[in-house]
Symmetry: D2
């Protein structure tokens, strides 16, 4: 599969003509947020095969102040070593060490605006199904990193990013194209750092894309609106242990504080100003088997969302009050750490219009929806916000795909025909956003 | 490895004259419940050195129906291999495989009653202090199994069991002495299986012993009463996951069910009939970082106690109702598994009287307390109950020891002078309980 | 008390030309839901003065099956006697006995469609301010029924109903006009019974109106949409009392069940399908001073709402599960009684269009809003739904009024200029909805 | 003030020989705490008939600082007027106005110690059974104050106090006897004020008595020990109201704060140091029917108890923390008011010994128990404590009585034969405590 980008003809497109194969390579090797070492090395390898004008990766693409939810050193190192063992390029890997994953590929195609496409590349802690009815299991590209899975389509997104690079390279596009391969979307941890990392500062139009989201193959939503703003946080309670039978009153029960707070988070009243959400997704406290100890340590991770950023922040303040007073009631200390967040940002008609036009022009697109509510969150909004603050425009598109299992489920899969549609529509939109 | 008990003189007592050294060997190599492989091998080795008439270990000493809270196979295997790597006798180890830890040593010394002494041998999941003020750290016998520690004195108990064997062997005792080295006391998991394992069926008097419990060196409590009955259990909730923003209503939130139940367990009303306790010592649910998922799995471990067995069972029924209705409220399934338990049993005056007499006769015992409330639980009560049901008597003694840190804390330690007192008093009590 | 409608001139309009005076008479004599005895008698008196073709009141205007939240007999009787003492017509009163309040006035003005206007007439349990800055206090028309107050503008609504009757009577309207004076809106208790009471069955267009709702004088919203569906209910817990010190475990604690359920109602998770609400507005349990009794009785009143009727019903089911499982956990029985409800219903463009045209034609209307979200609930939706089911159309209009205090607050008041606007705009809309 | 006791013979004892009749007069006219106007007037009347040396009533018998749980003026006045209407002596009543109920009667019988007997006189808010199987209903002495009932035997206690006065007057007792008729025991409100009111300062031995408590007729407990210390309190939450649908987030929900706190009070962990109790006996919040209002007011009454005063105070501090943090979480203010309390105080062997001796000497006493646990609370402990602090002794005796319904239940009644036993035993005990 040598990069054959020098010779002309249809054979010249190392990714565009092999989307399924590329996607399956990513699918086989899923890595969680900030640990996308092999993934990034593979992106770099393909980008070089395609032939790009600039290729950035390593510490200089993200702002060190804004990297959220980076896992502990030991976990990063485990994934780093694993990538090395699996044969990723050691020189590339070395620059990624410590979780500096992700990449920015640039094509300079003459005068004209700078158009960016953002795709995300991380996987989830989900154990992939080995049911024969699950195509990746049946066809041999199931996850080889047990317990981690591309269950949200980011293997497809990475492939689309490369495919668009490849397609635009052979197009009449005039201007500059940047494709951002963003790490750590699932934890809402990567976009903030990339937004302030410098590579967006000259962008005129930003496109972001997601596959699926319950839209079937053939449907394109040109620009989603009403994303929910989100903030993810961790509350860590510390108390005083004591013997649960001899003197429970001497303890400051961190588990009791944590479970009481976790329970009460759901009881923050609704808001007349719009939709809000709250969820506790992980809780842990005490030590296995130690029922006779009043636990001195417990923690949970939760998230709040809001129809706009103010509503999300209102929820966060309410939750912080719940947590603080629960700790106080039980004589515990508590520390709240923000682990990820994304503001609300809506697609602009200008940029979405280019996607809409490209979709309407594509013969395999059976339904084109100009605008639709998103109903969830995405840290791409950080990037959209940054571009808009600099006077640019942005749109977040959805390319439908038939998916048998739901997003984040063990049987999630995509219809690979949607990769072609996505690459075609987005590269056409890039061309339309370029100089005429 | 023949015992050298044939030669006379003070050199003849391999354990009795080396209590600190023996205890420190146990202390250095702590193993948790049902994983006491190296510990049991060491007990066997010392018992053989002392010279006993029978020595039982392996599957035949416990009733397979009643072994509670046995850890998963993988965990057992890890400790098994560790013991082998640390040099424990492979032939002994082989019989212990699968968690068949513990031992019963028998001395037959002529006609007379059968007297048993029960000691427990397991350690705790506590990370031992490395502060230079902590004697095991300063003097080089700190835990070599990081994260596990003899923080409740069972290293001393195992030593006392061997020391009493050694001392009685050289005494005028007439009758049969059995020393039971019981596994898995900390999880209230071992005694029930040992009680019905056969070795108690002919016992006339049972002694059990604990060091410390906030009594200083020089104090002996001849027989504790009012132990609390205890039951330890695990509640495992399973629900349905869903996206926390898009359709939280589609989920059956196992975390919400579990934290609500855990919180409400503490609100089971007091009982007019006597003291009760309830505690949640461990909780876990959802997956780290996955705040956007309505969790489909959460669990906690808890325990209830009562001043008598009926009160304990009342608390358990109340807790089961709390758990069941919380699961029902959140559309979850829940499974409650009993992980350990111990009834209430009080010391008898007959057996305690022998300890009291021995204590009063000992020059280093400065305070002898005939009877005192226990205020906690112990699965030795299963053994006491069994002996009583067969027409025998039983007593649970406390031998004071100055301990700088509290039981179960990282700085717990014992005053080794109390080992001498314990061996002297208990072996004297054994003699007094023998034939006159 | 014959209407004096025979003579011409401006003197001929007994209500239209005296809106403030009429409204103040209502304001002075506020009566709560189903107790609007004097209010109904006053409506009857004015309607007769105006001269109508039919005037219905008493048991035949509401469906006895669907009267919700009717207070106990003793309370009805108290208000009944009070109305008699204050001089209301005894013959009219007699037909209202037992809470059969409200009236339907009909004008038959030749061929054409049947247009209905619904106004509500009940007051609230709010103690009216006696601050001199509060106009009703300063100008002598403050509530004379201490503790009850027209704090939501229904005094104005009753006046508008009469004013429109009076104005349409002198207009070129062709068709039939029915004005429905509906009782018990504040408890969402009256509309369901009126919807199925027969008087709506031939209605082609239904108008309903509310003053204020934070819109200033001069603003008219032609037709609100997105009302919230609502259901109000009472949960009554019965348990077993016991002495709180001697044997609390013997009790089935109704207060503990009720407060736990009330607290957990707020924790019903948000719904991805749209806005929901839940609130507990009243709670009571046990007996004053009897802290030594485990209470055998406790109750609360709550309500749920939803952006559509299904969402409201989802919330109700969730709440019922919370309540039922809380009762079960505490060994109590619980009974849930629905006290009031209203579906979601949106204004139709046809009917709202007539209001919009009338508003745009009025010189004092400074802002005309065709459609706006309501954000709250109204049992007028029962009436709207009924008319639509029969093939008619309906709209709910808001006529702005400057109000110093918020709705339901002790200093609520209306700007009486808005009464003129409301009567003009609505009577013009009635004419437009009539035959051309 | 002369009684008619001057004539001799058995006819000379106006109370002692008519215990049932006197008790039934009290039973028929029950009055709640601090409202015992007719009851006190009746005590005064009988005491005068018996002939005492001093008779105190009105404001000077209680310390105004320490009167707890006095009801509002309007309630006091209602009961005051009722007593007047029922024919109580107006001159006596006038001194009791404002809730200055209760009396102290003194017999001076020569040299010797001062012995006091305390009886309580208030009734409960319980509606008495009208079942023909309930003797007071069948025999015509059921409560004539509907909703209030002597359901704890204080009618008998008042009778015993008078009976002992009468009996001791005709005995060989040497010394001074004071009988204290204490108001407001049921709310733990009267004893503190009487303890510091001056009349106890010279008392050498104090006796207190209770009928029943699940002991049958013929049993006497000479001195109870291990009363529970108790504190009763009220928590009043004030928040900010808001519309529950339009802007619930603008409210500070007093009901949510109160129900959450009330629920969490039960979850204060058990104490290793001894028995504790907590109960919420009354809760109220919001306004009936107003489910659409975020309530700005809610309150509950609760109590805590402890095996000793420190444990009770620990519970109170814990509850105060629960309440304060719940208010803070919901943005509410909260005020906690102590409404009643009683310390723990045990009977002394000296005083109990006199009761024991008297009981053993009585032919109708079939079982005499020197000492027993009480398991509940009594504000007599304030009086006992006061006497002990002054160097005296005290005992609290129980005189058994067969009672068909439980204490505080609608069918409670006493076996009137126990009145004779109580008067005999207690007057004999008084004699034994006098000078020999």
């Amino acid at each position: 599969m040598a990069g054959s980008e020098s010779d002309g003809g249809t054979e010249s497109r190392p990714v565009r003509d092999h989307l399924s194969e590329v996607r399956r390579a990513f699918h086989r090797d899923p890595e969680p947020a900030w640990c996308e070492f092999a993934t990034t090395a593979r992106v770099v390898e393909y980008a070089e095969r395609i032939g790009v004008d600039e290729l950035h990766y390593g510490p200089d693409i993200t702002d060190p102040e804004n990297r959220l939810s980076v896992p502990p050193e030991a976990e990063l190192e485990g994934w780093f070593r694993r990538a090395r063992e699996r044969g990723a390029d050691p020189d590339v890997l070395e620059r990624l060490r410590g979780g500096h994953t992700g990449a920015v590929a640039v094509l300079e195609r003459g005068p004209g605006p700078t158009v960016a496409l953002r795709v995300d590349i991380d996987a989830l802690h989900v154990a992939e199904s080995d049911d024969p009815g699950h195509r990746p299991a049946a066809e041999g590209f199931r996850s080889e990193n047990e317990g981690v899975m591309h269950a949200c389509g980011h293997d497809g997104h990475a492939t689309i990013g490369l495919g668009v690079l490849d397609a635009v390279r052979g197009s009449e596009f005039s201007g500059t194209l940047k494709v951002l391969f963003q790490p750590a979307e699932e934890v809402a941890g990567g976009a903030k750092a990339m937004a302030t990392g410098g590579h967006l500062d000259d962008v005129d139009s930003l496109l972001a894309v997601h596959l699926g989201l319950d839209r079937p193959t053939g449907t394109v939503v040109a620009g989603v609106v009403r994303t929910l703003a989100v903030r993810r946080f961790r509350a860590e309670f510390s108390g005083t242990s004591a013997h649960a039978a001899k003197n429970p009153e001497a303890g400051d029960n961190a588990i009791q504080a944590a479970v009481s707070a976790a329970s009460d988070l759901y009881a923050v009243p609704r808001h007349g100003g719009g939709a809000t959400r709250v969820n506790v997704g992980h809780v842990e406290g005490g030590a296995p088997g130690h029922t006779n100890v009043v636990a001195d340590r417990a923690a949970f991770e939760a998230e709040v969302r809001g129809e706009d950023t103010e509503l999300m922040e209102h929820m966060f303040e309410e939750c912080a009050t719940v947590i603080r007073t629960a700790a106080e009631r039980h004589g515990c200390e508590v520390e709240i750490t923000v682990e990820g967040e994304a503001p609300r940002e809506d697609s602009d008609p200008e940029t979405a219009g280019a996607v809409e036009a490209a979709a309407r022009a594509h013969s395999d697109v059976t339904e084109t929806i100009p605008s639709a509510d998103f109903g969830a969150s995405e840290d791409a909004t950080y990037l959209m916000k940054r571009v808009k603050e600099n006077g640019g425009n942005a749109a977040y598109a959805v390319v439908g795909t038939d998916h048998p299992g739901g997003h984040h489920s063990p049987t999630f899969d995509i219809d690979e025909r949607s990769l072609d549609i996505a690459v075609d529509v987005l590269s056409d939109a890039v061309v339309r956003l370029g100089a005429e």
